[in-house]
């Protein structure tokens, strides 16, 4: 019974963390601008993250060490440092965006300017990291994040022609008012949002925090095979909702508040309240994950004690990094930088750095020294390798596309 509860809770927590401000904004923006012509990217992206998250979770479960921890000793300190710098920087941008997202979600209820709420949001995030035990943290925000299922209900309530939708999604093309370049740029952005590196760091470190052992391999798979697809369904629901409600009205998404419009339209006040809870939970959960990831990455590269499973005074440098990261992200957010723009940058740059994150996972998951007999099977390796090639292509194309499209304008 306890195992069943663990599995259920693990799955529930997976959802909250898999739809963050990047997914909220990217899927709504894309739906409003491209209809369903980029839906296939979400599908490709979720398969990618399922395959690699399973690997990362398996590495952590079998070797008892998170993937990032092993990068330096397996691939060398230079590669590890490149990985650390890129990951930390992008993670920091994401953290700033998520904290702002929390503040915005709160402001939409309290009618206070979100800037005033940023310090409060940041403090709450830090406080939860500082005090709430890891499992409680996951359970609470995972459960709250389930509120986002309202975006699926939104689509169902609108009652679209499903055949028509499937046909559109299955025959993607570049809409007339867009160029192949903007199409590619948004495809990359969606991909970056679906496969954000911090999800893997966090998942991998989380497995160690929760002290998973070999007997938890099924739990690992359950988490991954149910949580991520559910996240994808929610992402697609956001896209469809935006395509049905925003696109016909020529509304483009440049504010987080607009993400809630389809739900307001379809489900009124109850829908609005629910989606705001969902947005709060998703951004707060992601802020926790990126805040912790800031500490995980630095501490694991340098060999410091790390983790919430230790008393804070047993891992002081780890907590110091987390605290400073949150503090600087707060200042950055307070500078008035547009949270949606920061979000877009973070997911696009994530896309550019994806090979750095995923290449080590593929290598380490095949290493018998760490994995014993639990190395990758042939199929997993085949898929993993294909994805890695795709990721490299994306990484190379990202910056040029960013310049050509002027940031997707």
């Amino acid at each position: 019974m306890k195992r069943a509860v663990q599995v259920t809770l693990g799955i529930l927590t997976a959802i909250g963390g898999f739809v963050d401000i990047g997914d909220l904004v990217a899927n709504s923006e894309t739906g409003a601008r491209f209809g369903l012509n980029l839906a296939w990217v979400v599908v490709v992206g979720v398969i990618g993250i399922i395959v690699f998250a399973e690997m990362a979770g398996r590495v952590a479960t079998v070797s008892r060490r998170p993937v990032f921890d092993l990068v330096r000793e397996r691939l060398g300190p230079a590669f590890g440092l490149a990985n650390l710098i890129a990951s930390f920087f992008i993670n920091f941008l994401t953290l700033t965006a998520e904290i702002a997202g929390v503040a915005i979600a709160l402001s939409l209820v309290a009618s206070v300017d979100y800037l005033l709420l940023i310090p409060f949001a940041a403090f709450l995030v830090w406080l939860v990291i500082w005090r709430l035990p890891f499992q409680r943290m996951e359970q609470l925000f995972g459960l709250l994040g389930l509120a986002l299922i309202v975006v699926l209900v939104t689509v169902v309530k609108i009652g679209p022609d499903w055949n028509d939708l499937f046909r559109q999604a299955a025959h993607p093309h570049v809409p007339s008012q867009e160029t192949p370049f903007t199409y590619a740029y948004f495809a990359i952005a969606l991909f970056g949002a679906a496969m954000t590196p911090y999800e893997v760091f966090f998942f991998s470190s989380g497995a160690v925090e929760e002290k998973w052992t070999l007997s938890d391999l099924t739990l690992n798979r359950a988490n991954v095979f149910v949580g991520f697809p559910l996240g994808a369904v929610l992402s697609l629901s956001l896209m469809v909702g935006a395509a049905l409600v925003l696109q016909p009205r020529n509304i483009s998404v440049d504010q987080l508040s607009q993400v809630g419009l389809p739900t307001v339209f379809a489900l009124g006040k109850v829908g609005l309240a629910t989606v705001l809870v969902g947005i709060f939970a998703a951004t707060f959960g992601a802020a926790l994950e990126t805040g912790l990831s800031a500490g995980y990455t630095v501490a694991q590269y340098l060999g410091w004690p790390w983790g919430k499973h230790l008393r804070p005074d047993q891992a002081p440098r780890f907590h110091l990094v987390v605290l400073l990261s949150i503090a600087v992200a707060t200042l950055f957010g307070l500078s008035g930088v547009d949270p949606v723009k920061v979000t877009e940058y973070s997911i696009v740059l994530s896309a550019a750095a994806l090979p750095l994150t995923y290449f080590p996972i593929l290598v380490i998951a095949n290493d018998t020294d760490y994995m014993g007999d639990k190395t990758n099977g042939r199929w997993v390796n085949a898929i993993g390798f294909i994805y890695l090639v795709v990721l490299v292509v994306i990484a190379v194309a990202t910056i040029p596309l960013m310049i050509i499209t002027k940031g997707g304008a």
Binding site: E73, P77, L81, F134, P312, P316, H319
Partner: protein, 129 residues
């Protein structure tokens, strides 16, 4: 320790150091090599771990400065970044050390951070579960 051949780059460098109580105390950032007993071979005499060591090994200039600063600020006796080979208990997926590792750079820095920052925040001694 039983006789075994180790590949320095693979088995020693960048490995996690673990103290006798199981706590993490850094990674092997570099190795100290000396000529063995006046011969031509080089022997590992110590593991090096701490701020600046890795930077210096990877070729950055400031690594040297950090190390000098560390030594200036640190204890008078003994180099906190140097772990004599005799203190190594076992070499495996991580490297276990004999007791007495609180003189090491890692724990020393943790102690400093506790004293000056983390220790002042309420709840720092609160057990996680």
């Amino acid at each position: 320790m039983a006789e075994r051949q180790y590949y320095l780059g693979l088995d020693l460098l960048d490995r996690q150091l673990v103290a006798d109580d199981g706590s993490l105390v850094g990674k092997v950032d570099d190795l100290e090599l000396e000529r063995c007993d006046g011969g031509d071979e080089l022997c590992v005499t110590a593991l090096l771990s701490g701020p600046g060591v890795l930077a210096q090994r990877m070729g950055r200039r400031y690594g040297g400065w950090v190390q000098q600063a560390q030594r200036a600020l640190g204890r008078a006796g003994g180099d906190p970044t140097r772990i004599p080979l005799a203190r190594v208990v076992s070499i495996g997926s991580h490297i276990e050390l004999a007791p007495g590792s609180d003189e090491l750079a890692g724990p020393a820095m943790d102690h400093w951070v506790n004293e000056h920052v983390i220790g002042h925040i309420p709840g720092s001694r609160h057990a996680p579960e």
